[in-house]
Amino acid sequence: MASSDGEVKVLGTWSSPFVMRARIALNLKSVSHEFLQERLWEGKSQLLLKSNPVHKKVPVLIHGHNTISESLIIVQYIDEVWSSAPCILPSQPHERATARFWAAYLDEKWFPSMRAVGMAEGEDARRAAIGQVEEGLVLLEEAFGECSKGRPFFGGDRIGYLDIAFGCFLGWLRVTEKMTGVMLLNETNTPRLLKWAHRFCSDDAVKDVMPETEKLAEFAKMIMSRVKGAAPGTGKS
């Protein structure tokens, strides 16, 4: 079994939701770690290029001699190495599969749909893009009902895998709401997610790593003007 000994570092940026996942997971497990900030606009560091040669992206978890990349893979690694409570993944295989399914949906469909809102040109395109995001949120509201079974989080009484996978996007969701004037999470369509979002952001494992919406909005404006035409550089991994 892998030892939990060894220095722990997270290579990342303050603005990346994917990096946040790794940091939340470590915080949940009370694992002290160093956060090494990449200044991506200055070019990728030697450490990043060496530790994630395939994708050259953040986050990277460095644990002793091991380097692990891909945020959801990192979260599972953390759960398995620091295997004492709190557990991040559910214990039942079917619940684990459900959590993994929705995490994959978030990464492959929902977050790209939210990014598309920022890239949409013209009112019609923007409205259509927002519609896509809202449809996804209705699905996620339903998923919340099924997973939480009346408890405060997707993971139950405590933050779990799917809370982390989804909650990390709340900063960017709020920036999108600010930009469009549309309340994506609202009492009418997503009453449970609305409350969940507050609980998630207030959690001890989350509050120090969730960026302020204002700061993120400024950052978004800067990237958009700098790389007009390309996708916002959140360093997805």
Partner: protein, 222 residues
């Protein structure tokens, strides 16, 4: 294994994704009922499939005692956690993380590149082919002298790489683009031969001529 288990797979004969699920079940000796879905015509998808996978409306879906699971890699993890014979993932968390990394790399990078190389208009194919060769070179590094990605026996990465092991050669034949050459990628090439020679894999591959027909129909004519 629980004798009361009811396992069904909704799949399509030509889909590498549904074949992955069948391969894992076969490897673990899990009996299952197979339900063929027509994935080429949307209207022909069964009401059951749409009920069990309302989000994506796709195969494969694994139904275990009435509970559905969708997304092939998610299903593979579920199969591994539910049926313990012939593990497809390593025990060690780091090795497990690496296996997951390569399975994801296959789906996120290799597969889209191969699709582009196969189905793009002819003038875009050379550039797409170069991308495939780069992906495959990276993938080859994961073999690291082993017989299979999983070591001495097939594991999750081998299963996930089924489209490289079988479908890729058919695509090469049809497009005439060399994507996986024995000279440039000798280890990976050898792996494809090992993979398709496995008795359990052989039980789980579609008929080559049928796949050839499908690929020929989809590849843009010269």
């Amino acid at each position: 294994m629980d004798m009361g288990d009811e396992v069904k797979v909704f799949g399509s004969w030509g889909s590498p994704f549904s074949r992955r699920v069948e391969l894992a079940l076969l490897l673990k000796g899990v009996p299952y009922e197979y339900i063929e879905e027509d994935i080429f015509v949307f209207e022909n998808k069964s009401p059951l499939l749409l009920q069990y996978n309302p989000v994506h409306k796709k195969v494969p879906v694994l139904l275990h005692n009435g509970k559905p699971i969708a997304e092939s890699l998610v299903i593979l993890e579920y199969i591994e956690e539910t049926w313990k014979a012939n593990p497809i993932l390593p025990e060690d968390p780091y090795d497990k993380a690496m296996a997951r990394f390569w399975a994801k790399f296959l789906d996120d990078k290799c597969l889209p590149a191969i699709r582009k190389a196969a189905f793009s208009p002819e003038n875009e194919r050379e550039e797409a082919a170069e991308e495939v060769r780069d992906c495959l070179k990276t993938l080859e590094s994961a073999l690291n002298g082993k017989r299979f990605f999983g070591g001495d026996a097939i594991g999750m990465v081998d299963i996930a790489a089924n489209f490289v092991g079988f479908w890729l050669r058919i695509i090469q034949e049809v497009t005439g683009e060399e994507l996986l050459s024995v000279e440039k990628l000798p280890e990976l090439f050898k792996w494809t031969e090992e993979f398709v020679s496995c008795s359990v894999v052989k039980k789980c591959l579609p008929p080559k001529d049928k796949v050839l027909d499908v690929v020929k129909a989809r590849v843009a004519p010269k």
